[in-house]
Amino acid sequence: MIEINQLSYGYKRKQEALKSMDLSVGPGNICGLLGLNGAGKSTLLKAIAGLVTPHSGEIKTLGHPPYKRDPEFLREVVIITEEFTLPDFSVGKYIELYSPFYPRFNHTAFQRYLEEFQLTNDQKLTGLSYGQKKKFLLSFGLATDSKLVLLDEPTNGLDIPSKSQFRKVVANAVHDERTLIISTHQIRDMENLIDPIIILDQGKIIFYENLESITQKLSIRRTDILPKEGVIYHETYLGGYTILTENQSGEHTHMNLEILFNAVVGQKEKIQSVFNQQVNA
């Protein structure tokens, strides 16, 4: 679905946001794209969607060079950004004007999403709150039945019940021919939703594993005393420690994504040795 080889891109010369990146993503996944501010997450999404042209390297999304923005490619890709503007239409008018561009647009599913998010066709888009606008865009994006849906910080601005609705809707929207890539800082909102997990740091992919492999190789537990050996990463909490260690018992523990993320970013070499993979410094 997405094939990237040695991709580089920068907004300014000598300041590359993506550095010789390699990535391969198949269909039927909800990928989590995690990284610190400025790690290159949004730029990677833009490159995948064809909104920037790489300076070097190769990128193919759904078999197309995305930067050529072929209409047949564009109707299979939806990107919902963190910040956006919507035209001065009603929900119904927007659907009437934009949905015909997507030949598999599912009006029944769209109405179902609207109901789920408590929106109606006669509401003006400009009159909606930020969270409602996001829900509308998500409903539209998922109803297009596009093969690739890119979501940049989708849970920002959503209230707690809306985050649950979001998880439910997204989990049900993925199928064998569709992939969702969710770029986020809100790691906790994505627990039990994203798999595999891609972590970016300074324009490079430093971690790309599925949950099965992660829980096979790593284990998280709480202890009162910090062990002197075997701890890859630890965080303190009231009265004890949360520690990330190599999984030697073979027992799968619940993977706290926030701890995992902090460990990967802070202890690249140790994580590298566990997964025996190339970690780019």
Partner: protein, 250 residues
């Protein structure tokens, strides 16, 4: 489905762009007709009481050009900032379809819509004008006359410059383009003067009135300039517009 042009996709885009621009076009028409009526006709007749015959061709020319240039400079309004660019660039249409669509709407579409509404406006304006200024003869506006057709030809060519501006400038397209055109015109004048200072300093009113047969180099430059304006300027600008749209990024 063809990557560059598909008629069904094209009509969907036309429908979308027409709906999006409906308010802008309506406001432009209201402003133009308001200005034409109050400033171009009423005030004009009031401050020149000796006027015995009034026709609308001068107002028509001015309104067709200015209104069309403003609308053309808004042709790719979705490119104005990063947020609007996402939505603009992700609509599943080709850059070629966008250029053809906006060219049709702002060039031929504007000429047709404006001329038709202007004709209707003159019927109303003449009736009211006759009631207010009984001594003035109000000539009917004929959209098929040479006086109406000439500005249409000039608009058809010059409008393409504003489409280029709309594809390359981010925001404030009209004023930015006007500044660029003024600077370009100034440079062109200096170059023209260096080639044609004898003609410019002569007493003739237009270049056509000059004795160009005795100035072959000036005649060649003038012929080339006219050929460039009427046959090359618009196609070059359409190609530039396409290239500008094709290479857009967020």
């Amino acid at each position: 489905m063809h990557s560059y042009f598909d008629i069904s996709r094209f009509w969907l885009l036309m429908k979308l762009e027409l709906f999006k621009s409906r308010r802008g076009v309506a406001m432009t028409l209201v402003i133009i007709f308001g200005l034409s009526f109050f400033l171009g006709m009423i005030v004009d007749l009031a401050i020149e009481p000796l006027t015995l015959v009034f026709d609308h061709y001068e107002n028509y020319t001015f309104s067709l050009l200015i209104g069309g240039f403003i609308l053309s400079s808004l042709a790719f309004h979705g490119l104005r900032n990063t947020l609007t660019r996402y939505q603009f660039l992700m609509v599943p249409v080709s850059a070629f379809e966008r250029v053809v669509c906006m060219w049709l709407l702002t060039s031929l579409g504007w000429i047709l819509v404006f001329t038709l509404t202007y004709t209707l406006y003159t019927l109303v304006a003449n009736t009211i004008g006759q009631l207010l200024f009984s001594h003035v003869k109000f000539n009917a506006f004929n959209p098929f006359s040479e006086q109406a057709f000439t500005p249409m030809k000039y608009y058809f060519v010059c409008q393409s410059v504003f489409l280029v501006g709309a594809a390359y400038f981010r925001g404030y397209v009209f004023p930015k383009l006007l500044i660029l055109l003024i600077v370009t015109a100034f440079i062109a004048l200096i170059i023209a003067y260096s080639f044609m200072h004898d003609v410019i300093l002569a007493d003739d009113h237009t270049v056509e009135e000059c004795d160009l047969e005795n100035m072959p180099s000036v005649k060649t430059v003038w012929t080339c300039a006219k050929f460039f304006f009427w046959w090359l300027l618009a196609p070059i600008n359409w190609v530039l517009t396409y290239l500008g749209l094709k290479d857009q990024e967020v």
